[in-house]
C-alpha cells in the first residue's frame, strides 16, 4: 500500500506538465455550484449539484457507519476489540459529552437521537470533504479530475442544519412550558426602565444563535479549504517548482484540519444544539 502511494506520488511529480496543464489556477472554482441534473419544481430549484452529491454520499456513509458500528452483530473476539470499542466510544461522546451536558434528564430520551445524528452526520460530511474524490465536475483528457470539497463549506447546508435546531428549540420550549411561560422566560429580571433596551437584544440574540451556529461551521470549513488550496496552488499560480516546500505547510494544515477541526466542529454543533434545546425546555426563570 505504502509503496503504491510512493510510486503514484513520484509519477505525479515526474510529469509536472500534466499538473500545469490547467493553466490559470483559481481556488475559488472549487466552491462554484453547477447544476449537474436540473430539477425545477415551480419556483424551487432542487437541482443536483456538487454539494448535493456530497451530502448524499455523507448520508449513505453515516447510515453505514451507524449500522456497521452499532447494529452489526459481533461474531469474533477480534471484532469486539476494534469495531465495538470504536462504536462505544462514539456513543459515549454523544451521550456523556453532548447530550447530558445540555439536555435535562427528562428530554434526553427524546432528543438524544437528534443530537447524536447531527454529530455523526456533520463529522462524516466534514471528513469526506478532505478526501480527494473525482467529483470536481471537470475533465482532463476525458478523465475526471480529483479534488476536495466539503458540503459544509456551503452556507445553505449549514444554515439548513442550524434552522432545524432553531425550529426544534422553540417548538420544544412552547411544548414543555406553554407559549406564555416560554416567551416570558425571554424577559430577564431587570429594572423596568431598562427592559425596552434588553428585550429587543434578547430577541435579537435568539436569531444571532442561528447565524453564529451556521456561520461557525461554514466559515471554518471554507477557510480550511481555501488555505489548503492556496498553499498547494501557489506552485501553479506562480508557476515555479521552487515553491514545492510550501506543500509541507499545506500538509501540516491538512493534518490539523482532519485531526482536530473536523471532529471539534461536529462536536460543537451538536453540543450547542443540545444546550439550546435544553435551555428552551428548562428556562432559568
Amino acid at each position: 500500500m505504502k509503496r503504491w502511494l510512493l510510486i503514484a506520488t513520484t509519477a505525479a511529480l515526474a510529469f509536472p506538465t500534466a499538473a500545469f496543464a490547467r493553466g490559470k489556477f483559481d481556488p475559488t472554482t472549487e466552491f462554484e455550484q453547477h447544476e449537474w441534473i436540473s430539477i425545477h419544481i415551480g419556483g424551487l430549484n432542487l437541482s443536483i449539484t456538487k454539494a448535493v452529491v456530497y451530502l448524499m454520499i455523507g448520508t449513505v456513509l453515516t447510515i453505514l457507519m451507524g449500522l456497521g458500528l452499532m447494529r452489526w452483530k459481533v461474531t469474533s473476539d477480534k471484532d469486539v476489540g476494534r469495531r465495538q470499542s470504536f462504536g462505544e466510544q462514539i456513543y459515549e461522546i454523544a451521550q456523556v459529552q453532548v447530550a447530558e451536558q445540555g439536555l435535562p434528564t427528562k428530554a434526553i430520551g427524546r432528543w438524544f437521537p437528534y443530537v447524536a445524528t447531527l454529530m455523526l452526520f456533520i463529522f462524516v460530511v466534514n471528513l469526506i470533504g478532505f478526501i480527494p474524490l473525482p467529483l470536481t465536475g471537470e475533465k482532463w483528457h476525458g478523465v475526471p479530475t480529483w479534488g476536495i470539497y466539503a458540503a459544509t463549506s456551503s452556507l445553505s447546508v449549514t444554515l439548513a442544519l442550524a434552522l432545524l435546531t432553531f425550529v426544534f428549540t422553540h417548538f420544544e420550549g412552547i411544548r414543555w412550558n406553554g407559549p406564555r411561560r416560554y416567551f416570558k422566560s425571554w424577559i430577564p429580571e431587570a429594572p423596568r426602565a431598562l427592559l425596552f433596551l434588553i428585550v429587543p437584544l434578547e430577541i435579537l440574540g435568539q436569531f444571532m444563535r442561528l447565524i453564529s451556529l451556521s456561520v461557525r461551521l461554514f466559515a471554518n470549513m471554507l477557510a480550511g479549504h481555501i488555505l489548503i488550496l492556496t498553499f498547494i496552488g501557489l506552485m501553479f499560480i506562480l508557476e515555479s517548482l521552487a515553491l514545492i516546500p510550501v506543500v509541507v505547510f499545506a500538509s501540516a494544515f491538512y493534518i490539523f484540519e482532519v485531526a482536530i477541526v473536523v471532529g471539534i466542529q461536529a462536536f460543537i454543533f451538536a453540543a450547542l444544539s443540545a444546550i439550546y434545546i435544553g435551555s428552551a425546555i428548562e428556562p432559568e426563570h
Binding site: V215, R216, A219, A223, I264, F267
Partner: protein, 88 residues
C-alpha cells in the same frame, strides 16, 4: 511621510487596493483577538490540570467548547472582510 507620498502617487486601481487592505486588516485583527483568547484557554487548562489532574476529563469538554467558540471569532472577521471585499 514617505508613506503618504507613496499613497498620493498611487495611480492604479485604488479601490482594489483599499479592498485588499480591508480584507487583510479584518482577518488579521480577528486572528489577533482569537490568538489571545485561545492562548488564554489552553493556558488556564494547563494550570487547572496541574492543580487538579483528576478533573482532566471533565475540563477537556469545556476546553474544546471554549476553543471552538473563540476560534470562530476569526471566521466572523473573515466573513465580514470577504463580504466587504466582494460587495463594496
Amino acid at each position: 511621510m514617505a508613506v503618504i507620498q507613496l499613497l498620493a502617487a498611487t495611480t492604479g486601481d485604488v479601490t482594489k487596493a483599499g479592498k485588499a487592505i480591508g480584507l487583510a486588516l479584518g482577518v488579521g485583527l480577528g486572528a489577533l483577538g482569537a490568538g489571545v483568547g485561545i492562548g488564554n484557554i489552553f493556558g488556564s487548562m494547563i494550570q487547572s490540570v496541574a492543580r487538579q489532574p483528576e478533573l482532566r476529563g471533565e475540563l477537556q469538554g469545556i476546553q474544546w467548547l471554549g476553543f471552538a467558540l473563540t476560534e470562530a471569532v476569526v471566521f466572523y472577521g473573515l466573513l465580514g472582510s470577504i463580504l466587504a471585499f466582494v460587495l463594496v
